[in-house]
């Protein structure tokens, strides 16, 4: 029989461990959220308020948000990023869907080797192709042109989309296709009429992940564009400069950061479950 003291001791221990657990959760939440919260707070401070550490703002000022669009072609930069990301993702998905059907549904020799090559390309460091790509882009006359980015981004969006779509394609039941084959449907019809509707969710997930990767890309965008009108958002935010090197317009930089991140966060939270399954399909199942 447990004595009263023992019972009390047990209960105290349980309470302490509960408090510790919730404390840990709180620390995790603050650690992940605070930096972005601080960017929002800073972006809403105007003038010299920015240089006072104040954790709460009672009176939001939108000056920085106005200044970002007035002092630099930030609207244009956003459109650039949208154009590049959407075009490269659309092209990747179209090419990858066809390829994923071939790899995922048809038995042929060299299939494993092909998968290894694709996985290998997805591990390519971008720097390894930088000089060759630079020359190729110059030859094609695409330097300081957004098409150079749509084109070069395929090096990381394409292997990723092929890989993930293939994993999804493999999991679909065999009977689907058999019925269509018996009916004499051509492979093109099978892909567009049978698989494409079923692959809808997979295409959304993969497309979203590829979109985020393209939206965030920095090295190629920095190297293959020259004028500030041709910059994408990451380059514009990285190269924002003030009157002198020591006077960076932090208010503007924070406002620009919040503008491009809020839509991304909304997208990610909305597609949360799918993103997690897509990420794990891309990494763990590999």
């Amino acid at each position: 029989m447990a004595t009263v003291a023992q019972l009390r001791w047990k209960r105290a221990k349980r309470i302490v461990s509960r408090v510790a657990f919730y404390g840990l959760l709180l620390v995790i939440a603050v650690y992940t959220i605070f930096p972005f919260y601080w960017a929002i707070v800073s972006s809403l401070k105007s003038g010299s308020d920015l240089f006072e550490v104040e954790y709460w703002i009672s009176q939001p000022h939108w000056d920085n948000y106005v200044a970002v669009f007035r002092e630099q072609p930030f609207g244009r930069n956003i459109l650039n990023s949208l154009f590049v990301s959407v075009s490269t993702v659309t092209l990747s998905l179209a090419l990858a869907l066809a390829a994923a059907y071939a790899i995922g549904r048809v038995q042929f020799r060299g299939r494993m080797l092909l998968m290894f090559v694709i996985l290998g390309v997805s591990m390519f460091p971008q720097i390894a192709v930088l000089s060759g790509m630079f020359e190729l882009i110059n030859t094609l006359g695409l330097y300081n042109n957004l098409l150079a980015l749509s084109f070069s981004y395929l090096i990381f969006t394409l292997p990723f989309t092929v890989w993930v779509l293939t994993t999804f394609m493999r999991e679909l039941p065999k009977e689907l296709e058999e019925a269509a084959i018996v009916d004499g449907a051509s492979p093109l019809t099978i892909v567009t009429k049978v698989f494409m509707p079923l692959m809808g969710p997979a295409l959304v997930t993969t497309g979203l992940l590829a979109f985020i990767a393209a939206w965030n890309e920095f090295l190629f965008a920095l190297t293959f564009t020259l004028s500030s009108e041709m910059r994408t958002v990451p380059v514009a935010i990285a190269l924002t400069s003030g009157a002198s090197a020591h006077e960076l317009p932090w208010g503007n930089i924070m406002a620009a950061s919040v503008i491009v991140t809020v839509p991304l966060i909304i997208l990610v939270l909305f597609f949360q479950r799918r993103i997690v399954s897509g990420l794990t399909a891309g990494a763990v199942k590999g």
Partner: protein, 299 residues
């Protein structure tokens, strides 16, 4: 018509179609990856300049022998290795803690899981700038916090001082990438068999013993794949280092070094040699990764 021959004819037709479907993807991949890679390797053996690549002369392995004698190259290799090892180690430990916490049942679990996706969703350049501002020596919130709780007497120039610059970059990477690690490990944890835990609980085994004796060994394959995946990513780091401290020698990574030679100094030949060497290093790691992944799948 015998069913067997019609079947094999159908198979042959399907295989032919498969290659038709693969062709556009393979062609694009050869153009955006294969060709530029071969071109980079070829440039590595020439004295090509960025302004006039056509005038390149073959110089053998000169670029590579210069590279291996350049202390700045070795400094960038060292920075990259320190960055990769330390940040991946911290990400794994923190990621494991967060994954274990999220694997428990509590109210608001979905909300917290959503919250940890925020750092992952933020573009690297944006997180670099956000932290640059927080690390600011005069107006930064981090110095303010540390000084107001009495941990520091004087403000530190986190990103400018050679002692702390690399550490700051590592801390930002840890913040940004731990969620990815946590989610991968959480997926691994949720696949573990429940029975082991039930019997351990009945036997009254201490939670820490359960972790080290049951969870960690079972999680090992997922953990290995995640670590190598992240290491490969960390070895090619460019944007975080470049945005936080530019071409600063104290923090320069291999990719930053190669790009500076290529673009800023216009030395296409030498920069390509550096790029080729980076490619070789990462290719070696990739082979290791593929082997581990295959072993993991076969188990």
């Amino acid at each position: 018509m015998k069913p067997a021959t019609s079947h094999s004819r159908l198979t042959r037709r399907r295989v032919r179609w498969a290659w038709v479907f693969l062709a556009p993807m393979l062609l694009v991949l050869a153009l955006v990856a294969g060709w530029p890679l071969l071109k980079t390797i070829a440039y590595g053996f020439t004295d090509a300049s960025l302004i006039n690549p056509e005038a390149a002369q073959f110089v053998g392995v000169d670029n590579f022998s210069f590279l291996l004698q350049d202390p700045y190259w070795w400094a960038s290799v060292w920075n990259t290795v320190v960055f990769a090892v330390v940040s991946v180690f911290l990400e794994t430990v923190l990621g494991l803690i967060i994954a274990l916490a999220l694997n428990a049942q509590f109210r608001g679990r979905g909300g917290l899981r959503a919250a940890i996706l925020i750092p992952w969703a933020i573009p690297t350049v944006v997180s670099a700038q956000m932290w640059n501002w927080m690390f600011n020596d005069v107006f930064g919130v981090i110095n303010h916090m540390l000084m107001s709780v009495g941990l520091m007497q004087h403000p530190i120039a986190w990103t400018a001082s050679p002692d702390t610059a690399l550490l700051s970059i590592i801390l930002v990477d840890v913040w940004k990438t731990t969620p990815f690690m946590a989610l991968l490990l959480l997926a691994g944890l949720q696949m573990l068999p429940k029975e082991c835990y039930e019997s351990a609980r009945v036997d009254g085994v201490h939670p820490l013993t359960v972790f080290f004796r049951i969870t960690l060994p079972l999680l090992k394959p997922a953990l290995m794949v995640a670590i190598i995946f992240r290491l490969l990513d960390a070895l090619r780091v460019f944007d975080l280092v470049y945005v936080m401290s530019g071409n600063n020698r104290d923090t320069m990574s291999m990719s930053v070094y190669a790009r500076q030679q290529l673009i800023d100094f216009g030395d296409l030949g030498f920069g390509s040699a550096a790029s080729t060497l980076i490619f070789a290093i990462i290719a070696l790691f990739t082979v290791v990764y593929l082997t581990v992944a295959r072993v993991g799948r076969e188990q």
